[in-house]
């Protein structure tokens, strides 16, 4: 199907204008990260020179590389944990018939509606009782079970033809083998999607990591962002923006690389 030339021009115009609007805030932060204090006050858009002073300040002030590493460890652990826990649960919901299945499923889904902030304080105390302050498991384990993830995978598992299940039973495949050898490979896109989603949301977590770490050993980058802003003493915006850029680059890169997969898989969650 061909699009006419005027329509094409019109489309490109819309695409360019809107996408620029969407991307503008990031670009703006990028520009400011190179500016000195007076330049920022003047309200310029382009810095006079691209000096890296703000970036060196950021890295001087905080063990940012350490934070980045921690963020990676935590995000990857949560990602893997969610994949395991959610796929197991989703599998049970789709391929087992048992009493109370719908009830348990509803219970799971209802957790999506519980505001995390409302459960946070008891959770901080739980983590403290487990002596998990400043540990990776304290940062990751509470997030392994995810209603959204279970839901997403369930939706995809539902599309797997029932005949396949029956055939595998006849062929003598055990339940787990069917899960491992058949269901998971078919659902690769959904798994990738959930993985990316889990990675990104964990990377972006902020209040929880702050509350259960008391030293720098396992802190993540989002806390670093907060550490750059001051309260009573004037904030150096240039340095803060440099921090912002450092923090968002890894996720942006990940998104740019995995965008195609992500969008393919995410949409599958919506299909019944």
């Amino acid at each position: 199907m061909k699009t006419s030339l005027p329509a094409k021009i019109w489309l490109y115009f819309l695409l360019i204008v809107t996408s620029l609007c969407v991307f503008f805030p990031v670009l703006y932060a990028f520009m400011i990260s190179f500016m000195t204090g007076p330049e920022i006050i003047q309200g310029r858009f382009f810095p006079q020179t691209f000096n890296l002073e703000n970036y060196t300040k950021v890295f001087d002030r905080l063990p940012l590389l350490n934070y980045l590493l921690n963020s990676f460890i935590v995000s990857i652990s949560v990602m893997l944990g969610q994949l395991v826990v959610c796929s197991l649960a989703a599998y049970a919901f789709v391929f087992f018939k048992f009493k109370g299945r719908d009830f348990i499923f509803f219970l799971f889904i209802s957790t999506m509606m519980i505001p995390w902030e409302a459960t946070m304080i008891p959770n901080v105390f739980t983590i403290r009782k487990l002596d998990w302050f400043n540990t990776y498991q304290g940062l990751t384990l509470p997030f392994f079970a995810l209603a959204f993830g279970t839901f997403l995978l369930r939706q995809h598992f539902l599309t797997i033809p029932k005949e396949l299940h029956e055939a595998s039973q006849i062929a003598g495949l055990s339940r787990f083998k069917f899960f491992w050898k058949v269901v998971l490979p078919i659902s690769k896109t959904s798994l990738v999607t959930l993985g990316a989603y889990g990675f990104l949301t964990t990377w972006n977590m902020y209040l929880w990591p702050l509350l259960i770490t008391t030293n720098q050993s396992v802190r993540t980058v989002q806390i670093g962002l907060k550490q750059l802003q001051s309260q009573e003493i004037a904030t150096e915006w240039g340095v803060v923006m440099a921090g912002v850029i450092v923090v968002i680059i890894p996720t942006l890169l990940l998104l740019f690389i995995g965008q195609k997969q992500l969008q393919k898989g995410l949409s599958q969650g919506a299909l019944k």
Partner: protein, 457 residues
């Protein structure tokens, strides 16, 4: 067949558990404060590899403040070989306090915690802390070398409970160039409410508002205190547990009327609750006079492309100036940790109060030196010569008349009360009646006080 099916699954679970335990093991090496011995009566202090007593210092200073703290801690660790202090940022004051509640009174508590000034009463009642006074008495530490007007805030019933640390007071900062243009004397800032109102009138142009104040309860408290007004009953909570707020009296009313008059006349600029916003407004010439923390003076001078003046905060016309209440935070020592750790904390606090360290702290951050001898240090003198405005902040503090009003109110629900004031101010700026919004804030505060008193054991 089905029985068999569960096995690989179990295996998977075991694997997951194994990974987790592996994580735990590798972690316990890096956080030595939770692995301190908890068996036996006597608590063993945490030690570094080379046998130094190691303590944690929780603070809420981000940005420049954190930089300075890290440098000071490094200085302390290098100055002696018995103790090792680790400074750890814990988020905002509120977040840090939430964490402290998780570990307070246990061996996992940090030896030193920085808590904001309005948390003073809360900390005293918490049972988490060792009063500073016990070490002062034991060590015969000479308190008179520290700034009296700062100590007064943290002294309760004659005992010092915590060591003052980052201390600031409000000041009025103004644009000298704008004063000249408006035909005002740039060397003589307005002193009373009506003088400020008049000056604001003259200073206001299309571009610039005359006066502004950060929408923050602290400034309101200060403007009440300088008139000698109290915030709560029972002598500001200093003679007994306060049972109700009294800031809707004539002094509080004066402040709200003062702001209301300028707001209605269009000479008041509202720049919200964010410190950086109001400062940006000042340095870009959107407001000619504003109230800031003394810790913000350096930034205001450096960022402004015009000459900056610093003055005492204004007071109501009919009363004498009483002065200012200390703001900021102090350092608290934990109870329930090993004795050696407490000693380490005490040593560190003593180090903090030396003139040299205080001079550095003052220069880095603009907070006061709690040891006034710091102002005699060469660096400080040089800086003061360059920025004579700094001296105004210290003068204002030292001119303060001691009394219940300027000692500051003592209530455990202060953060909530401040929130009430913020709401009241915001509603005032929307044109509501001053007395009405003030009464509402008092009501809200009273409810909080009542609950706090009711639930107290």
């Amino acid at each position: 067949m089905k029985k068999f099916g569960a096995n690989p699954l179990l295996w998977l679970l075991i694997l997951a558990m194994a990974i987790l335990t592996a994580c735990t093991n590798s972690d316990s090496n890096t956080n030595n404060e939770s692995s301190t011995g908890d068996s036996g009566e006597k608590k063993e202090p945490a030690k570094t590899e080379d046998g130094k007593v190691s303590i944690e210092f929780w603070h809420a200073m981000s940005g420049t403040g954190q930089e300075s703290i890290d440098a000071i801690v490094k200085g302390f660790n290098e100055s002696q070989d018995q103790y090792e202090v680790k400074a750890e940022y814990q988020g905002s004051y509120e977040e840090s306090l939430t964490k402290l509640r998780g570990v307070g009174g246990t061996k996992d508590a940090p030896a030193i915690t920085q808590v904001f000034e309005v948390g003073t009463k809360y900390m005293i009642e918490s049972g988490y802390i060792e009063p500073m006074q016990s070490f002062i008495d034991k060590d015969n530490y000479d308190l008179s070398q520290l700034e009296e007007n700062i100590l007064n805030y943290y002294r309760v019933d004659g005992d010092l409970y915590s060591m003052p640390f980052n201390s600031s007071t409000p000041v009025m900062i103004y644009n000298k160039d704008a004063f000249k243009e408006a035909g005002l004397d740039p060397e003589k800032a307005p002193e009373t409410f009506s003088e400020v109102i008049e000056a604001a009138e003259k200073l206001t142009t299309d571009e610039m508002k005359g006066f502004s104040m950060l929408t923050y309860g602290w400034f309101f408290e200060q403007l009440v205190a300088t008139q000698g007004g109290l915030y709560v009953n029972e002598d500001n909570g200093r003679s007994g547990d306060a049972t109700e707020a009294v800031f809707n009296g004539p002094e509080g009313r004066n402040v709200f009327d003062f702001l209301d008059r300028m707001n209605k006349a269009g000479t008041f600029g509202n720049f919200g609750t964010n410190w950086d916003d109001i400062r940006a407004a000042f340095s870009t010439g959107k407001v000619a006079m504003y109230m800031d923390s003394s810790a913000g003076v350096a930034g205001a001078i450096n960022n402004a492309p015009f000459e900056v003046g610093v003055a005492y905060i204004p007071h109501a016309d009919e009363v004498k100036r009483n002065g200012v209440v200390i703001g900021g935070a102090s350092l608290w020592m934990s109870k329930g940790i090993a004795e050696e750790e407490q000693e380490a904390a005490w040593e560190f606090m003593k180090y903090l109060t030396t003139p040299e360290v205080q001079a550095k702290w003052h220069l880095d951050t603009g907070y006061f030196a709690i040891n006034p001898k710091a102002y005699d240090e060469e660096d400080v003198k040089a800086k003061w010569a360059e920025y004579p405005q700094y001296k105004v902040t210290v003068d204002q503090l030292q001119d303060t008349v001691p009394g219940y009003a300027t000692q500051g109110a003592l209530i455990s629900v202060f953060p909530e009360s401040r929130q009430q004031i913020v709401t009241a101010l915001e509603e005032l700026y929307q044109g509501k009646d001053p007395q009405e919004v003030l009464d509402k804030a008092v009501e809200g505060t009273n409810r909080a006080i009542e609950i706090a008193n009711k639930t107290k054991k």
